[in-house]
Assembly symmetry: C2
Homo-oligomer: 553 residues x 2
């Protein structure tokens, strides 16, 4: 038996055929979105704008699935008839304005070229003013709404985007019968759902991005939405009452798409979740396991049994029951830039490419902790967790006239690890157990130096996911559980996920130096991050110089 | 009538023939020191060590003067007989251990190869522990000694070096009859002085580097020196009782050197001063004029009439009566690295050379103040003034994922200008008037962008010295005054110095932005420099981002 996991990323979609018994990957294909710049529709006059043509999703869906099935068929023991379910994950919050037939407005000639009628991609920041106003209004009238997302509502999220659309393109807002998250829309398309009201909504996007909670009866109440705009309160009636975790199916594969993809009609479709959430499942997330997807930025996911009372955790992006695994609170945190910072250093500042990345990595690997005397903050793209402040920037200190690019490169890696430790300490402090960390993403797979630094700085065993397609794998797992191939998620994860044999253990001697450096990092972090308004930084540079001497011994 | 100015730098010596009437330069020759690495004797095991073979000085003296005279002779109206005096400046504090005949120990076969028997070059830092101990002992027993040098005695200075010699090479210390500053020794050689006691000592080195002041009867008292080591108290008897300003002659040219150089015997020799002090004179220093020599580091010189009461100025390297101009207090301050920081950025970090310097300069010139959102501290080599703390390091903040090398280059230039402003504000606060700034050095001559930034940040008119050989010119001026070609220094400076026609005026719009940036610079400066132990830095990054927006308007 096999399931199909389909992972819609920012620039491309991947389809993966997975054997339910052991997670073996039988076929895998990536298809790039054809429109815009690497699949993203941009506005040269507004760098905050990022949209996508929903037709690209269907284009990519068909091609990737057919190609993955074709690849799988070349292997012994597979046939399309053995597929028992489909799972889907996408980026989010990426809401799509749809008409009364659940068709994206962008499919209509009238709106085809209107950027506001497209899918509002997760990284679209045009709603920055609306986000600030939502934060303000919620703080005053409904503090519970934002307590679960670090007390700050983001411009990347559902309501900021829809409200911004209403403000800048009221004609588009008026034409939209409803708005559907990308992660909910794809399953609904596969299931042939022809009315937005019938779209099965996942609690993952709803809870993390749309202020949905069963605690307060679903989406924000109309009274609150009317404070934003009465038309948003009206819209609520055309959205949804209930959002579901992965125990609920998004529907069955309809005849049309069954034919298009060459799959049996009626296959169960798992509920849609955001990519990193299914990615966490694909990495084996469980209570005590933190999953880090390390890429241009990082996303951290953890779960805590829903039997426990989980307090609000200050500065954490979201705590949503059922968002990742059914029966658990899903906890999401993240760093706004990680790989992007290394890329900035090597490519934008040093003017190099892959060869320089490799050379600096090699040189940095020879350095000992503390040896450079440098300390950096990982805020070149703001701080998502634990400060939730986009208005922060990078910092580097400790440089002398001899400081070289490889030392700075290593200091930047260390800075991201210190940022990771700040997240880890924050969630542990609020009762989320973390015994080991499983990482996914190209950086985790390819950079042993970085992994060792992360182990030394966090004091935690670091493992690397056994699959390079953790998100698609997680989707396939969800489908396998839904289809009954495994009794539950833990059983499915046990059978279908793995970690690489090589793990990274903290080295005590390095930990001692890094504990000191982390103390200094926190001093600078708290001073510039506004945690401390009366900071004594007079020893920071001197302590770094002293550690430089110690590290040589 | 002409005078000869001889400027002994770190790597070479320059001789300059100057016409007394108008300062016209008739001949100029540079000769490199032949020994060691670029003239400096190093110890691969100790990067703090920097010595020079005194024989190199005599080698360079002969060759440079003869060549400069030869060059002058090719011009109409000059003959060696028209030379009426000689002036000398050197690096300092650069003490030389000499025997009872005023001969450097290093001229003796026995000591020739002993690094401790050479001249201890200004940038030798081997006496860092001795310096700390002198600071400590003076603070406890003679606070007045160090009140005039920022309350910190430096490892670069006279007593640190001699005491270190005593500690590490007691046999050299024992063999030395006395120690003579490089700036005093060259004039004494020219004058044929054959006993250290007869060497005429300048108050410039004595006051700035050897804790000499007429206020407390000359050099530090024997009781204090005995706290360091009784043998230093004994040495005091073989040093000097009195040090002099430039109204006193160092002697007359002796027969030997007259013959060697091809000059008339008996020529008056001006008292020796440190290079930047005579450089200040060559740049036209006067009350209200601050002279900045901008090179790898900067040295700032100002004067205040000795009729006024000048208080001790916290954090200022030195305030010495007669050190620069007779009848004035000489005030010296400086920045530990300026050109060196730019060089570090371009060469060590970006891996470029002259072409990249030029390209970054061009790109940086197109940026508007505040546009990059960056802020840097100029402490890659510590802070000389106003914090007097070698244990400080560089800092850069405000970087995003788009920050480019030219923006950082400009931020580093601005950082050195902010450092310059901190010095300026400190001395003005303590009553030293500054109406305009005259700069010397290659950077001032070649980099209009830097000069404009300095004008905008300091709010002061910036001028560039008319002579590229300001130090040698200042020596020649001192000789001209001594020989009677001019009534006094102001008259000589009026006739013999000039500034370039192009001056740099502050631009009001830039000043407004830079005033804001300087406020932020001081916040960060004071926090990391230990001025403030309860700093609120929570707005720094946000204010920089706000300025970034303002600068675009």
């Amino acid at each position: 038996m096999f399931t199909l996991g389909i992972d819609f990323g920012t620039n491309s979609v991947r389809a993966l055929v997975v054997r339910c018994a052991d997670g073996a990957e039988f076929g895998s294909t990536v298809v790039n979105y054809p429109s815009g710049r690497q699949g993203v529709l941009l506005d040269p006059k507004d760098h905050n704008l990022a949209r996508q043509f929903p037709g690209d999703y269907l284009f990519g869906l068909e091609r990737s699935v057919r190609a993955a099935l074709a690849a799988a068929k070349r292997k012994r023991g597979f046939s399309a008839a053995k597929i028992i379910g489909i799972g889907v994950d996408t980026t989010g919050s990426s809401p799509i304005p749809v008409d009364a037939a659940n068709r994206p407005l962008a499919f209509d000639k009238k709106w085809k070229k209107n950027l506001n009628a497209q899918c509002w991609l997760w990284k679209d920041h045009t709603g920055v003013r609306e986000a600030a106003r939502i934060t303000e209004l919620a703080a005053r009238h409904r503090p519970q709404f934002i307590a679960k997302c670090g007390n700050t509502y983001s411009s990347e999220w559902f309501w900021s985007k829809i409200w911004h659309c209403l403000n800048v393109a009221p004609e588009v807002f008026a034409a939209a019968h409803s708005w559907v998250e990308f992660a909910d829309w794809i399953p609904s398309v596969l299931a042939g759902v022809d009315r937005p009201a019938k779209v099965v909504r996942g609690v993952c996007c709803a809870g993390h991005k749309a202020l949905y909670s069963d605690e307060w009866g679903g989406l924000p109440d109309k009274e609150f939405l009317a404070l934003l705009d009465p038309r948003l309160a009206e819209l609520r009636d055309r959205l949804y009452e209930k959002a579901h975790d992965a125990t609920v199916s998004a529907g069955q594969l309809g005849d049309g798409w069954a034919k298009t993809l060459g799959l049996p009609a009626g296959l169960p479709i798992a509920i849609g979740e955001m990519d990193v959430h299914y990615g966490a499942i694909g990495c084996g997330v469980a209570e005590g396991v933190l999953v880090k997807v390390i890429g241009t930025s990082t996303c951290d996911c953890a779960v805590v049994s829903a039997d426990k009372a989980v307090p609000d955790i200050p500065g954490i992006c979201g705590i949503v029951r059922g968002a990742i695994l059914p029966g658990f609170y899903g906890i999401e945190a993240g760093q706004s830039a990680v790989g992007d910072i290394f890329k900035w250093w090597v490519e934008v500042v040093c003017g190099g490419g892959g060869a320089l990345h490799a050379a600096l990595t090699k040189a940095a690997a020879r350095q000992r902790p503390g040896q450079s005397g440098l300390l950096a903050l990982d805020w070149n793209n703001g701080n998502r967790t634990i400060l939730v402040d986009q208005q922060l920037t990078g910092l580097l200190l400790g440089q002398t006239l001899y400081t070289n690019p490889a030392e700075i490169y290593r200091a930047l890696i260390e800075a991201t690890a210190f940022g990771a430790r700040a997240i880890l300490e924050r969630i542990k402090e609020y009762g989320v157990p973390v015994n080991r960390i499983v990482c996914a993403g190209g950086i985790a797979e390819k950079n042993p130096m970085l992994m060792q630094i992360y182990a030394d700085i966090t004091g935690c065993t670091m493992q690397v996911s056994g699959s390079s397609q953790a998100c698609a794998l997680g989707s396939a797992i969800s489908a396998a559980v839904l289809a009954g191939a495994h009794a539950d998620f833990p059983a499915a994860q046990k059978a279908m996920t793995s970690v690489q044999p090589k793990s990274y253990q903290p080295i005590a001697a390095n930990q001692r130096i890094y504990d000191e450096l982390y103390r200094l990092y926190r001093q600078v972090h708290d001073a510039f991050g506004g945690v401390s308004q009366a900071a004594d930084l007079s020893r920071v540079m001197k302590d770094l110089l002293a550690l430089k001497v110690v590290s040589r011994e």
